[in-house]
């Protein structure tokens, strides 16, 4: 098992390096010099600024060959220097720190919601194959993967907020009630539901497909022949085995979740990383955009790793 994890880590390393390489290319291609991105602009004013700038230039080595620059830049990353926002003149890390909570809240809620809907739906659809329920589930998931998420968001706001007035149209809190649990829930409801729609579509299809495959397996017949009650067969044998590939699917869908979060945050004015990036785009604030992009890529690699390890824990055949 340990050997498996180590092997898996070893595979992740070149991918991370590749990501960092691509990011570094962006650093050089984006308008504004690489130095500008990394330096705290507050240090740039004052009498010694020119000398300071020169020494930084030397330290960060624009005159050094590119590979060395890359290493230096990665060194900066490890020290926690993700750059400084052009517009707000504060370290990007602090901006990210402020906003990440909201994004995590939104995406995790959406993910859990999606799973809570997709797994039962997919399982029942597979058990009642070719029934009305099955066709309805398949139809629903088809619809969910075809509709643009921002359109779904707009319609949700239109119906539930503007016409019915049940829920607020955006933001994370109402003025004056900041921090109240029920208020946050009310604000979270629509964006989380719409975002979960991004995931429900693919999840239902995968769960249903996986379940159908497993139900056709010989060991299901063996379990029935042993006299196991139907529920036991469905849960302990069919479902448990059908969910194993789902861990991989979950990991594969993470980039889609992140992209969807960006769109949803924009539509619902949800103050998370997505909205931060969107504003940064309008303001040409590249350090922020780059930092968030790197962060998401790193997260994706991390989740893929976790998913593979979890799958190996659940399925002993993978460990070989």
């Amino acid at each position: 098992m340990v050997a498996f994890v180590l092997r898996r880590l070893a595979i992740a390393v070149p991918v991370i390096l590749g990501i960092l390489l691509i990011a570094f290319c962006f650093v050089h291609l984006l308008p504004g010099s690489p130095i500008q991105m990394l330096i705290n602009p507050n240090d740039l004013s004052g009498p010694d600024s020119a000398k300071y700038l020169a020494s930084l230039r030397a330290e960060l080595g624009l005159n050094k060959p590119l590979p060395i620059q890359w290493l230096d830049w990665m060194g900066q990353l490890l020290k926690g220097n993700l750059g400084y926002s052009y517009q707000q003149q504060v370290p990007v890390t602090s901006l990210i720190g402020q906003r990440i909570g909201a994004t995590v809240l939104l995406s995790v809620t959406a993910l859990l919601l999606a799973l809570a809907i997709a797994i039962p739906l997919g399982v029942v659809a597979a058990l009642k194959q070719r029934s009305g329920f099955d066709y309805a589930s398949v139809g629903l998931s088809m619809f969910a993967i075809s509709i643009p998420i921002f359109f779904l968001g707009l319609m949700a706001i239109y119906v539930f907020s503007l016409r019915l007035g049940w829920l607020p149209p955006g933001g994370i809190s109402t003025l004056g009630v900041a921090g109240s649990f029920s208020d946050t829930v009310r604000h979270l409801a629509l964006p989380a539901c719409v975002l979960s729609a991004v995931l429900v579509g693919p999840y239902v299809r995968y769960v249903r497909q996986s379940m159908l495959e497993v139900l056709g397996m010989d060991y299901i017949r063996t379990a029935i022949a042993k006299g196991a009650p139907r529920m036991r067969v469905v849960f302990r044998h069919a479902l448990r085995n059908a969910l194993i590939p789902l861990t991989t699917v979950l990991a594969i869908q993470i980039p889609a979740l992140l992209a969807g979060t960006l769109v949803i945050e924009t539509v619902f004015a949800w103050p998370g990383l997505g909205l931060l990036v969107y504003d940064a785009i309008s303001n040409r604030d590249y350090p922020i955009i780059l930092a968030v992009v790197m962060l998401s890529a790193a997260l994706v690699v991390l989740f893929n790793l976790i998913a593979d390890v979890v799958a190996a824990v659940l399925d002993p055949r993978i460990r070989l």
Binding site: I11, P14, V15, G18, I19, I22, F26, L29, L30, P31, M142, F143, I145, S146, I147, P148, I149, F150, F151, L154, M155, I157, Y158, L162, P169, G170, I252, P255, A256, L258, A259, L262, V263, T266, V267, V277, Y278, I281, R284, Y286, I289, L290, V292, V293, S296, A297, V300, V301, N304
Partner: protein, 311 residues
Amino acid sequence: MSTSPLLPENIAATDAAATVSAAESRSAWQESPFRISMARFLRHRLAVAGLLILVALAVIAIFAPLISPYNPNATNLFLYQHPPSAAHLLGTDQEGRDVLSRLIYGARVSLTVGIAAAVSAGIVGLVLGLLAGFLGGWVDSIVMRLTEMVLSFPALVVIILIVAIIGPSLTTIIIVIALTQWPTGCRIVRQSTRSLKEMDFILTARAIGCSDFRIMLRHTLPSVLPPLTVALTVLSAEAILLEAALSFLGLGVNVPESSWGGMMQAAQSLTTLSSQPWLWLPPGIAIAVAVLAINFVGDGLRDAIDTRQQT
């Protein structure tokens, strides 16, 4: 008596046999895998419906100048945000342009980007997937790591980043979308190639002396095309949705005829959202219908070729 086919007395017999087998080959074509798949596809009602919708959309896009009631870019401030009426079936937007006409012309951009990006991504994916699957070894490792890297970046964000650097032109957007989508096609092709590689007919080709390149081209490629076609539908759907999101965020194509996504930009304001639904509902529905149709076709294709592979 010798049975060599070259002896005169045997040539007549060979001729007769050849005529019989020609007739047989003609009827064999009736049963060719392609025909069987086509028949299966046509039995899929939803898939056929999807195909018809796509054809209709293509016709609308191609004949836009003939169908569209007005010039989509003709502004007329006197017609500022009129609701649907007899003269303007879908109303007008903030600059007095007819929504229906913009919707019709919007099909051009959305569909062009979608298909062009998907085809580009498909070609790149095909080449890399074939090489990786067939040659294995370090070529495979490199391609796999490359796909993982590209897939780690959320497509939308990367596209935004690149478009921010280079600027949003139609070609740029198509290329960038293709850059983020090729791994999907590549994976499918690679998977297919790897399983085909072990099949006996490939080994036979090798045994009779075919070069690797020839095997890839003549023997592997045709068998890889069906799953790739299915992948193309997924890619097109994804490309259309990406382009729409991009345009909605204001980062997409800037040509005068905006795409469907671009038409929905106005809805970012709550007032527009609330009081002018004719501005954003039609394009949203159009996108959903187009993507749904593509997905139905994709499903139909998947079923059509799947069963064939089981025989």
